[in-house]
Amino acid sequence: MSSAWEVVIGLEVHTQLATSSKIFSGAATAYGAEANTQACLVDLGYPGVLPVLNKEVVRMAAMFGLAVNATVAQRSVFARKNYFYPDLPKGYQISQYELPIVEHGEMNITDEDGNEKRIGITRAHLEEDAGKSVHEGFDGSSGIDLNRAGTPLLEIVSEPDMRSAKEAVAYLRKIHTIVRYLGISDGNMQEGSFRCDANVSVRPRGQQELGTRAELKNLNSFRFIEKAINFEVERQIDLIEDGGEVLQETRLYDSDKDETRSMRSKEEANDYRYFPDPDLLPVEISDEFINAVRETLPELPDAKLERFVRDFNLKPEDASILTSSRALADYYEAVLAAAAAKPQLAANWVIGDLSGALNRDGLDISSSKISAAGLAGLLGRIEDNTISGKIAKQVFEAMWDGAGSADDVIEAKGLQQITDSSAIEAVVDKVIDANPGQVADYKAGKDKLIGFFVGQVMKETQGQANPGQVNKILKDKLG
């Protein structure tokens, strides 16, 4: 990327709130139901029906506001955004316009140089989701499924504070982590419960004024977001350098072709004719309500990370991975609580073998085949020298495959570590006798050969000898 250009990115995140019922009706929000079986009369915009606001939605928005250090408005207003589209049954979307529920927030991300960077959150407002159009299988028609219509959305709008696709992804991951920590969204991008539009522009480095921006839509994975932004940045720079001009327009990202293209259908000048929805009254939030919500705020990722580093003496990189999801952090702390394992050892296992196994099987931490208590049992056996770290990996795999607890596996396979000095000495003697050449070299000063001898002893004992003891005995005997 040409360094003569500065990239400016702002993001709009639409996150579905994890309520049982819809924002303005008592219909269920569950994903994947048969078409239109979760669209009640209110969701269908039937003549005569009226909206009533879901309290949980207000609580969740307030929670988000507090989590990003924003102002939660004492008074916010729902407005109608008027336009015709088949997935919008009433011909207007109920949203917040002039007076949103959350304003003036902020969040820190780690930029590409590893420094903390503050990203401003302009606002977050509540609105209803639209339905879905299905374009295949209806013979020249599109089919409309309104199950999703009326699902609560929190739209989180950032300041144009990001300067690279990587920063944009870091911001997005952070928002994703926060909404899941708060339990206000499942953040499932495949199911569309966490969606993102990006406003991207470039300007000559040093210029104050912002360049013309394009709005990128259809960014439904972290990977695509990065690729789409990078593609768009290159496109804009090439365009300008070739004497062209960036148009303010909506562009769709096509992940198959890895390109963005103009959405001509959306280009017709929109005049949304916003006005306060006369079916809904202003939402008033009292200080008591805010305080009650504040009391339920969980420990947030930044605070948790800091605590893990401070209290458990973890490497910040490790603490960052462990706190990337509340479930993972909870799992880790449960392991510590159940065993006398050293925090760094537990971290290594959770980040290493456990995460690897989860990834391999495509599982979430919540459906891990080894419980926190189970992993704690395994770590206990490492700490008390019953098994070596290497044997532990073998035990872990067996446990993962359902062979029972660590003790069951060690017992059944006879994997207890050899800690009997005389037994180890016998093997050491055997190895020394069998390798006179190496012994001579070692004695002549080739210290590194100690590794060779340890390896031979471990091989003889099928890894069950205590490595510390082996080392000590070898050094004694080799003088």
């Binding site: 009369l41 005569g48 011909g91 004719r273 916003y274 006369p278």
Partner: protein, 486 residues
């Protein structure tokens, strides 16, 4: 004499004393509708089978001692209220074949009270009109003079009650749509405080102005029926959680000591002299009964019609966007594409006045005009509401004419929207401020009825009903019946 001449209250007593059954009463009224509605066109749908079944059930309930406040009493619903499994047209081609899958709360409440529904009454399309001429189902004729309009938009309800098809009918009022037709047909028209009666299931015209009410022949009947249909509804965010007083019980108190406010501008030019004389006469009667009068000033009231014709179209343009030919309502045939489906379904389904108001609304909300029209109208609406607030510090009820004149001829005003709009000049203020208001028959002008308009403070329906009832004890204007329907 037939039972049809009796008021709701009289019929209730008759049923209680077992003078007749609800089935007998229902049969009689259905026969009357079938014999006379060809002249009036007051009904869009008559639900004879359902009515007779409900009447039979009411008779059983009553004999079992279980009847509600309206047990076995026949009523008519304005066709703006959704009625489960029964066609609900809102006077529009758009909903010509629409079968509602649910009942409006008003419909549900009255059914719970035991009311028997004879059918659905004609109305201006989507309640937009003051003469009932915008109905897709044709105009309604005034029982007092078949060449005249019965007013609108609740013209079917007012004509039906005036013609003794039923003792009571539901109606809705966005700018005067209950009170103006009541005045022009010699009936009581009552619009409660905004939020008193649920709007759930009432097809929306202008959400911040719409309110359901009743058309009856006496204030006592209005009190009875309102008590049965009003009350908090959790399905309507704008429904107010206030207890509904026993309106009937409050009717007996005299008007002595009540302060009546008179708005000077209401008696200026623009008011037909004869009509003004009847209204002044009615006020004099109330004074003779012990009420006093005070002149009140509503300095911004002359802005109420233009304010209304910004606010109401704005809301309606958005409320009516849901009629797109997809999930319900008229769908254009052989649409070329989505845009064609939308534009033709709506172009064909809506009538001229509705289209005009939708376009006016889209215009006043559109980019560049919002501040000058919509926002400005909201500010003037605040001024008008403030004027009323100040006035009610000094008076209990504001009295004046309901309409500028008696009923006009069908076809007379249909070509000029502004002239038509000005028919609601005295009634619109109450909608803008959300106040309860009613029209009470106060005499005839050239053989046609005119009405006395009463406006009350927020949630003070009781005082209005009491003033009207006391007035009706002293006068017999409400007993006058159009010649052809005696």
């Amino acid at each position: 004499m037939g039972k049809y001449t009796q008021t709701l209250t009289e019929l209730k007593a008759g049923l209680e004393q077992a003078d007749f059954t609800s089935v007998e009463l229902t049969e009689e009224l259905l026969a009357r509708i079938s014999a006379h509605d060809k002249k009036l066109n007051a009904m869009i749908t008559v639900t004879a089978d359902e009515a007779l079944a409900a009447a039979a059930q009411a008779d059983i309930d009553r004999s079992g001692g279980k009847g509600g406040a309206m047990c076995g009493l026949p009523i008519i619903h304005k066709d703006i209220f959704c009625t489960r499994d029964i066609r609900t047209t809102c006077g529009s081609r758009m909903l010509e074949n629409f079968i509602s899958p649910y009942d409006a709360t008003v419909v549900e409440n009255l059914a719970k009270a035991g009311a028997v529904v004879l059918g659905k009454s004609n109305m201006d399309e989507f309640a937009m009109g003051s003469s009932n001429e915008t109905s897709f189902f044709g105009p309604v004729h005034n029982p007092w003079d078949l060449d005249c309009s019965p007013g609108g938009s609740s013209g079917g309800s007012s004509a039906a009650v005036a013609a003794r098809f039923a003792p009571a009918a539901t109606a809705t009022d966005t700018g005067g749509s209950i009170r103006q037709p009541a005045a022009l047909t010699g009936t009581i028209g009552f619009k409660p405080t905004y939020g008193r009666v649920s709007r759930y299931g009432m097809i929306a015209f202008a959400s911040s102005l719409d309110q359901a009410g009743v058309i009856t022949r006496s204030a006592e009947d209005a009190a009875l029926m309102l008590g049965a249909m009003a009350g908090f509804d959790e399905r309507d965010s704008t429904s107010i959680d206030e207890p509904v007083p026993d309106y009937v019980a409050g009717l007996g108190q005299s008007v002595e000591g009540l302060r009546l406010g008179i708005v000077r501008q209401h008696f200026d030019e623009g008011l037909d002299a004869e009509t003004g004389a009847r209204v002044k006469n009615a006020i004099a009667t109330l004074e003779s009964m012990g009420a006093s009068t005070v002149e009140v000033d509503l300095p911004n009231i002359d802005m109420s019609v233009p304010t209304y014709y910004v606010v109401a179209p704005a809301e309606c343009s958005s409320n009516l966007s849901r009629f797109d030919g997809v999930r319900f309502g008229h769908r254009a045939e052989n649409a070329e594409d989505l845009l064609d489906l939308y534009c033709r379904s709506r172009g064909e389904g809506f009538g001229d006045e509705v289209k005009r108001r939708i376009m006016t609304g889209a215009y006043v909300l559109s980019a560049g005009y919002y501040d000058a029209y919509y926002l400005k109208a909201q500010q003037v609406r605040q001024l008008i509401a403030d004027d009323f607030r100040k006035a009610f510090a000094d008076v209990d009820v504001i009295v004046g004419p309901t309409t500028p004149s008696a009923a006009f001829k069908l076809g007379d005003k249909v070509d000029d929207p502004i002239t038509m709009y000005l028919n609601d000049i005295y009634t619109i203020g109450a909608n803008l401020a959300g106040l309860p208001a009613m029209s009470v028959p106060c005499g005839l002008v050239g053989g046609l009825p005119v009405g006395l308009h009463l406006v009350g403070g927020h949630f003070d329906e009781g005082t209005l009903l009491r003033v009207a009832h006391q007035y009706q004890l002293k006068t017999d204007f409400h007993q006058a019946c159009p010649e052809d329907f005696k």
